[in-house]
Subunit: 216 residues, 2 copies
Amino acid sequence: MDDLEELFVLNEGRPLPRDLLAKGERLRWAKGEHVPTRGGVYYVETGLIIVRRILLEGQSKALFVARDGHFFHDVAYAQQKQGLTEVSSLCTSVGYYFSPDMTDELLAGCAEFRRVFLYSLACKARSMGTDLVFFACLTGARRLLFIMENIADRMGGKRSDGTREVHVSQNELAEYLGLHRGSVNRLLKELESEGLIRREQGRIVLSGRGGGTGEA
Amino acid sequence: MDDLEELFVLNEGRPLPRDLLAKGERLRWAKGEHVPTRGGVYYVETGLIIVRRILLEGQSKALFVARDGHFFHDVAYAQQKQGLTEVSSLCTSVGYYFSPDMTDELLAGCAEFRRVFLYSLACKARSMGTDLVFFACLTGARRLLFIMENIADRMGGKRSDGTREVHVSQNELAEYLGLHRGSVNRLLKELESEGLIRREQGRIVLSGRGGGTGEA
């Protein structure tokens, strides 16, 4: 369970008004695409972005998934440390890049930007409210289910029988999350044995009986 | 080990210049004193402040220890949620209280305040750098040792034979950290069996052979 034990999915963040988005550079990321890390911060308008910590041994560890209304690289910006994370997109996502100078300027001059920025940073902090406490109680398998439910919601994977499906292979999941294939296989097996998912060629079908795994 | 598993001690934060401290209300907390939680944020100039999360069952769980140069209640300020934490002082500490209006004003108008504030908030975030990764590898007992070493440093508990001592009883430790007495007893026993501490009446003597538990 160790690979996924620290991963959490941020709840929905706060929207930035259009005139503030226009101060950034609009970016579109494809499913599985790696996001180059530059100084400054990124804001997710729609989609799911996974942030992994680079470990000493050249491996990486899944940290959290940023959703709509959240920043990422805000921690690196605040600590003035770059290059400690690997970032990639779990599905088609749209975001905005704010350079360090623009971030400085907006934090100083715009209360609305500051409010959304501080909220997002605070959500990543340990002392966050009940959402993370709830999430911390989930096992690795349930976290994976939660992530897949989020992906399904973003990718419109609703089927006529009420189930949802994620068009992602086991290998892709492992690659996106930076996990070993064996770990993903084990977690998926666990979910399958509980009747929560069904694995098919190149996709995973969610039975919709997960319940209690959040507001996604 | 569950009680202490999430607790971490923040590394030294960043100093706020004197003219900015003067914008806040100076406070002095005695060892073991509870800090009233008001809206706005608190800055630790010297000392150790423990922040605990209030759990649903009326219990609390130790979250982190804020040290010199760190804010606390910054997460509550950013999320505009109060009353989720319990805060108390692990030793004689000096801090400053900034009201919500003053915090807003300083964040907007003062780059230095913003820098220290964002740094402190980022340090509490999961994606922080190597310090927390290091700390995350410590067992509950080693975390307790780390905390006691910090207390000893703050309280000048150095003895002529090179050992340090903490003038705190087992019951006080349990109370300050919000742990069960049984948990503290078990952790201390573990440290004692490793020859890292010695328990005496009303105090704990640190052998100084802990090594590797940080820069304290």
